[in-house]
Amino acid sequence: AQRVTQPEKLLSVFKGAPVELKCNYSYSGSPELFWYVQYSRQRLQLLLRHISRESIKGFTADLNKGETSFHLKKPFAQEEDSAMYYCALLTGGTSYGKLTFGQGTILTVHP
């Protein structure tokens, strides 16, 4: 069965420190993964997708099929990175764009 696991509910770092939000998945097909972010009082929005191999707001994520992971990383965290982060896996056929989300990680960056 498809599943997305984010083992950390809460993650706290200081400004300027590296940050890594963990995401592991279970899926029998070829995985397509995303990170979504929700800042305080804002709607949930796409941060990045693995297929694009992009860096957004200094964040990167590499798909590791061997470890079935898609961890989100940033070398120097900023206070404005404080938010809820969700990892998501495309499931149910690519036509529908159906996503399975993880439990979410609340990131707090302290000054």
Partner: protein, 116 residues
């Protein structure tokens, strides 16, 4: 700019009431989704629709139904609200997946429902 709107930000209902949550998108998207968001559980898909009058169950459809009579509007219905349906409800929409890969889901602001 894609806009997904939800009819209410906050809603308070009594147990047993029939509840309608409305979602409208203005970008001609084929796919629309209803999720509930609960602390520690993340987002869980209730229902989705890939075309007018078409619907598919998500992971937690029990106690819910949906309606999509027009392309831009996707309604979530709680036939008889219960206290365990107290939650944040998020609507999202996306284009049908193209050859370039999966499309982004765009989310509404959410409706916080309290069932007493």
């Amino acid at each position: 700019d894609v806009k997904v709107t939800q009819s209410s930000r906050y809603l308070v209902k009594r147990t047993g009431e029939k509840v309608f949550l409305e979602c409208v998108q203005d970008m001609d998207h084929e796919n629309m989704f209803w999720y509930r968001q609960d602390p520690g559980l993340g987002l869980r898909l209730i229902y989705f629709s890939y075309d007018v009058k078409m619907k598919e169950k998500g992971d937690i459809p029990e106690g819910y139904s949906v309606s999509r009579e027009k392309k831009e509007r996707f309604s979530l219905i709680l036939e008889s609200a219960s206290t365990n349906q107290t939650s944040m409800y998020l609507c999202a929409s996306s284009r049908r997946t193209s050859g370039t890969g999966p499309e982004t889901q765009y989310f509404g602001p959410g409706t916080r429902l309290l069932v007493l």
